[in-house]
């Protein structure tokens, strides 16, 4: 091979100071979140903050309690105890306001396959109570940005998965929410589209949106500003990817994750 010898360890990993260090305004605050189902403690005293404009990675083994916590933060389920504020609203009393101020997208549920692109946009705009004028503006701008204008009357079913995911993400931002929850948004997507999807995430964060994301791809954990790793219903670690790698003496996030998740007692 004509390339000179290389060694990844040459690239030492000093702790990076991202764009966050300047201002840290908490937009999600969680204090002692407990959620029980009968005797089973799904979330065992979770305490953490998520800052405005941050990309927050929410990781954990299957069954660690991620989905339960995420449902609570989205106002879909009530905690057993604890103090939680999401976008300035209380998760006990103001769930409707929370829902209006967040966006949500998952791999499993995104768009209606038997409706066209334009119909899906109109449907979600209607749900979020956007006016006709607002909807028209947003729809045009979004489809132009995505390069989907010529396809606006095509059925979602006819789009490749990567395009569906990008469109679903844009639709999750349609009502201009403060926070977007992404539940495994890139599962099964090809490696180029996966990275284009992350370009979208970075862009939204740069515009001040807060991104709360779960993933099984450990390289994506590295793209987050901070990462929390749940084990057996608790937060076992929470820091920047660089600090976690340093703390667990690991070259990558996969190594950090394996060390923590291997100690798990619970399997789902």
């Amino acid at each position: 091979m004509k390339q000179p010898n290389y060694d990844n360890s040459e690239l030492n990993t000093e702790t990076a100071t991202g764009h966050l260090s300047a201002k840290r305004i908490p937009i999600i605050t969680v204090k002692n979140l407990v959620k029980k189902f009968g005797n089973f403690v799904a979330n065992d005293h979770l305490t953490f903050d998520v800052y405005k404009g941050e990309i927050f990675g929410f990781l954990g083994a299957n069954g660690a309690g991620k989905t339960t916590a995420m449902r609570i933060l989205c106002g879909l389920s009530s905690p057993t105890s604890g103090e939680l504020m999401v976008g300035g609203y209380d998760v006990y009393k103001q769930t409707e306001l929370i829902k209006r101020n967040i966006g949500y997208m998952s791999q499993k549920f995104s768009l209606y396959e038997d409706m066209t692109i334009a119909e899906n946009v109109r449907f979600y705009a209607g749900i979020y109570g956007l006016s006709r004028q607002q909807r028209k503006e947003k729809e045009d701008r979004m489809l132009k940005k995505l390069g989907l204008e010529p396809e606006r009357n095509k059925l979602i079913a006819s789009l490749p998965l990567g395009w569906k995911q990008k469109l679903a993400f844009s639709i999750a931002l349609l009502h201009d929410p403060q926070i977007v929850f992404l539940d495994e948004p890139t599962g099964g997507v090809d490696p180029i589209t996966r990275r284009q999807f992350w370009d979208f995430i970075y862009e939204a964060a740069a515009e001040g949106k807060t991104i709360f994301v779960t993933t099984h791809y450990m390289d994506e954990a590295e793209y987050c500003d901070r990462v929390s790793i749940m084990v057996d219903g608790r937060i076992a670690a929470l820091d920047t990817p660089d600090a976690l790698k340093e703390q667990f003496k690991s070259e990558d996030m996969n190594g950090v994750f394996l060390q923590l998740a291997r100690s798990a007692q619970r399997t789902e």
Partner: protein, 317 residues
């Protein structure tokens, strides 16, 4: 053990498989690596005699998948992507059902499944529908193995599974391989390619490359650089806008750069970025991984299709 010659499959106007050929040796652990829509499931279903191809031919253990499908079914074990055991039967009932259908008993082949089955045996009276995802996966694998198949076919067994369980699952496959079972497994996770003896990289019904994972990365003969700085988002943008750069994609904390000029040096990348006020800049040559190769092959593939469609347009005009 598996022989595929020019297999094609179409659904309405979608060509799921475009005249694919490859073969798998006896005792080999062979991986089909590719995203959703690559054609992995269609290919597996044809080999499992559950779907008829539109063209080409294929053999499993020397038997034709169309003409001799009945004989093939006795010789193969299949774990489909979607959980397809009987949810309203218990763990034990499911296993004994599959054993009976294949004219055997759990006892007769217990040795083969023991390592896997002991992990779910404490729950053998539980309904399969009430099992956790990880346990369902182990039961499905036990059921696929209970008749001691010569070939085991697994459709995305690790999709949606966390990193620890994925690692354990691959350890189970390695053990089965030692028992002389030929294994064909599909996955969308590029990092799992390294665990196979040979892999086929698949995209849109075509095979981009078939070789050992080591050979695939060794065959990549273009220079590749890694760069990092404190601001990932701006780093990617600045690199993409530079005329020396062909592609720039995030890989963890680094951006992998394929240069448009093969002589581009890490020092030049560093200088360019520092001029644009990036902090803590690092840059060096690196060796390509499977995912780098896959992306490079994808790009050259779509470019050839693009130029094809462009030439078609010209013809129409």
């Amino acid at each position: 053990m598996i022989k595929v010659e020019n297999i094609s499959k179409s659904y309405a106007d979608v060509q799921a498989l475009k005249a694919i050929s490859f073969s798998v040796e006896k005792g080999e652990l062979f991986g089909l690596i590719g995203p959703d829509g690559a054609g992995k499931t269609s290919l597996m279903r044809i080999l499992m005699t559950l779907l008829l191809p539109n063209g080409g031919r294929a053999e499993m253990a020397g038997l034709d998948v169309v003409k001799e499908y009945k004989k093939i079914r006795r010789l193969v074990g299949y774990m489909p992507g979607r959980f397809s055991l009987y949810q309203d039967l218990t763990v034990e009932e499911n296993l004994s059902f599959f054993a009976t259908v294949f004219g055997t008993t759990i006892e007769e082949n217990y040795e083969l499944i023991r390592d896997i089955y002991v992990q779910i045996e404490p729950f053998k009276k539980r309904l399969a529908g009430k099992l956790s995802g990880g346990m369902k996966q182990k039961l499905a694998l036990s059921c696929a193995l209970i008749h001691k198949p010569e070939i085991l076919v697994l459709d995305e067994p690790t999709t949606g599974v966390d990193a620890v369980s994925r690692k354990e699952f691959w350890e189970m496959l390695k053990k089965l391989q030692q028992q002389d079972i030929t294994i064909l497994v599909s996955t969308p996770y590029m990092d799992e390619a390294g665990l196979c003896d040979r892999v086929a990289l698949m995209q849109k019904g075509e095979m981009l490359s078939i070789d050992s994972p080591q050979q695939i990365v060794d065959n990549y003969d273009r220079p590749l650089l890694a760069a990092r700085s404190d601001d990932m988002h701006r780093l990617i943008q600045d690199l993409r806008q530079w005329d020396q750069v062909k592609t720039a994609y995030a890989f963890g904390r680094f951006v992998h750069v394929t240069p448009s000029n093969d002589r581009l040096q890490p020092d030049e990348v560093k200088a360019h970025l520092e001029k644009r006020n990036h902090q803590h800049v690092q840059s060096s040559f690196i060796k390509a991984g499977i995912e780098d190769v896959f992306m490079a092959l994808m790009a050259s593939d779509s470019r050839s299709t693009q130029s094809q469609s462009q030439s078609n347009e010209v013809k129409q005009v």
